[in-house]
Amino acid sequence: MQYAILCYHDEKVTCAWSKQHDDEIMAKLGAVMEKHKSKLGPVARLLPTTAATTLRKDRDPPLVIDGPFAETKEQFLGFYVVDCATLDEALDFARELAAVNPGGAYEIRPVAAFYPDKAAS
């Protein structure tokens, strides 16, 4: 089963990290990813929500809005896709990530369909 691990954190906190602190955390996360690379799918870190644009498609024509879809206290800042036999295994992976990157939350969400290469449909 594939799980998406969705990363939420207060970007006011993460954006205030010094470059050095940011680099340290990225290096530690990199080590965790390296350890589990055989079961790891795509991983992405997103730019802050100030860089986001939202297309509201609940009307016709859709409306383009500056900023994220939802104003929340913690923002969606990135994700991992990981192949695990059980939810517990996915939780363990998330716990390892959390140990080196405290604060915020990980949402563990089973993947319904996955298209690793563009040609697949």
């Binding site: 006011k12 906190v13 205030a16 990290w17 730019l47 100030t50 860089a51 809005i65 500056d66 900023g67």
Partner: protein, 417 residues
């Protein structure tokens, strides 16, 4: 979570919001600062036991406000505040409080706090110092270090700025649309000042001044979160990020300035560039051009060029032309001339800047650029004079060293002729 480092991270993030609300409540910077500090002390005691509250800013505002009122009561020999472990359990109060001070209130609060710091009665250096102290929460020692002055002198500067603010009395009502947009403009200019104070430096002071650039970027992010649809604020943040992306490439091992032309582009920070370019893109879509957008677009063209030779000077010259119309200034014309020298040659560039000689007589970059144009045209004696003036006007030893290198290369080519 390991250690209590997270608490200071959370407090730093909540500071502008909390301070802004406390300033509205007490209508006095010192009283708000004292209340905030008291709230932070209580947070450090309460949060490790109870965990952070759901809305940290609202917690700090509540506790700070109570502490402030308590101080007044104490002075009047009245009943003290309940013990910490009682007040730290604020869940009920917090709910209603959070409802009352929602994001929209905070928005004008924070804008007012930022605006207070860039009051026109304050000279630029005081504006920056005050913003760093009040909004960013840097301590006086850190700010003094960044300005290369003594702590006592900085303390005095901040105190003086505060009393000027108190005397000037900024209105506390929510601003109207026109006033709000004027405030946004003034705050943007102040943020750019903070950045430039940190960016205009030599290698020796680079370490001490670097926090100013980081703070400016943080303030620009804050302003953009408050006004997410303002293209000029998107562009301000983009401009700062794009300039900051080159910071690792700006000095060589000996501490000399490395010009854009010779910078190692591999050491530019790609993540900052990606964010800067994304913001420029977003801003331009709004089709409401402004000076920060033009400047950010110029910075974006430099960031997009894989090598110096691939720089789109034609477009940069056009953009400086646009900026000249929006914000006429001899410095902008000088920058356009530099771009023009790359596309249409030094002779045309020289013609462009000759009329500026009076206005820019005391400007280091004018003589540096003029020297470079003259040198390119083979007018070595005049170039030598121009470089000499530039050295005399250099702001930092690194700038002087750079011009001296240009002078030396002039002497060398002389000998080989």
């Amino acid at each position: 979570m390991t250690g209590d480092g997270w608490i200071s991270d959370v407090i730093v993030a909540a500071r502008p919001q909390a301070m802004a609300a406390l300033v509205r409540y007490f209508r006095d910077l010192d009283a708000a600062e004292e209340a905030f500090q008291e709230a932070c002390l209580r947070a450090l005691r309460a949060w490790p036991k109870n965990g952070p509250p759901r809305d940290t800013a609202a917690w700090l505002v509540m506790v700070g406000r109570n502490a402030g009122i308590d101080r007044v009561r104490k002075n009047q020999r009245m009943r003290p505040l309940p013990p910490d472990d009682q007040i730290s359990d604020l869940s009920d109060v917090e709910e209603t409080e959070a409802l009352r001070i929602d994001e929209a209130d905070y928005r004008d609060d924070i804008l007012r706090l930022l605006f207070v710091c860039c009051h026109p009665d304050l000279p630029a250096t005081q504006q920056i110092a005050l913003a760093l102290r009040i909004v960013s929460g840097l301590d006086v020692r850190q700010i003094a270090r960044a300005f290369v002055v003594s702590e006592a002198a900085m303390e005095q500067r901040i105190t003086r700025a505060k009393s000027r603010i108190a005397a000037a009395s900024v209105p506390f009502e929510a601003p109207g649309a026109v006033e709000r947009s004027e405030r946004i403009g003034a705050v943007a200019a102040m943020i750019y000042l903070v950045f430039n104070e940190g960016y205009t430096t030599n290698v020796a002071e680079h370490g001490a001044k670097a926090p100013l650039c980081a703070e400016a970027i943080r303030l620009a992010r804050l302003l953009l979160r408050l006004f997410p649809t303002e293209p000029e604020i998107m562009a301000l943040l983009a401009l700062l990020l794009l300039q900051q992306s080159r910071s690792a490439a700006r000095f060589d091992a000996d501490g000399a300035i490395v010009l854009l032309e010779h910078q190692d582009r591999a050491s530019w920070d790609r993540r900052l560039i990606a964010e800067g370019l994304a913001l420029v893109d977003k801003a331009i879509r709004r089709r409401r051009p402004g000076p920060y957008q033009v400047q950010a677009a110029i910075a974006a063209l430099h960031a997009r060029a894989a090598t110096f030779a691939e720089t789109d000077w034609q477009e940069i010259a056009l953009l400086y032309g646009t900026l000249e119309v929006m914000q006429p200034s001899p410095v902008v014309t000088l920058n356009r001339a530099v771009a023009v020298s790359r596309t249409r040659g030094a002779a045309e560039a020289l013609t462009l800047i000759e009329p500026l000689a009076g206005k820019l007589a005391a400007y280091f970059y004018f003589h540096g650029a003029r020297g470079a144009f003259l040198k390119e045209l083979g007018r070595d004696d005049e170039a030598r004079t121009a470089f000499g003036r530039a050295i005399a006007l250099a702001n930092t030893p690194a700038e002087a060293a750079h011009i001296r290198a240009a002078l030396d290369s002039l002497s060398r080519t002389d000998k080989t002729r």
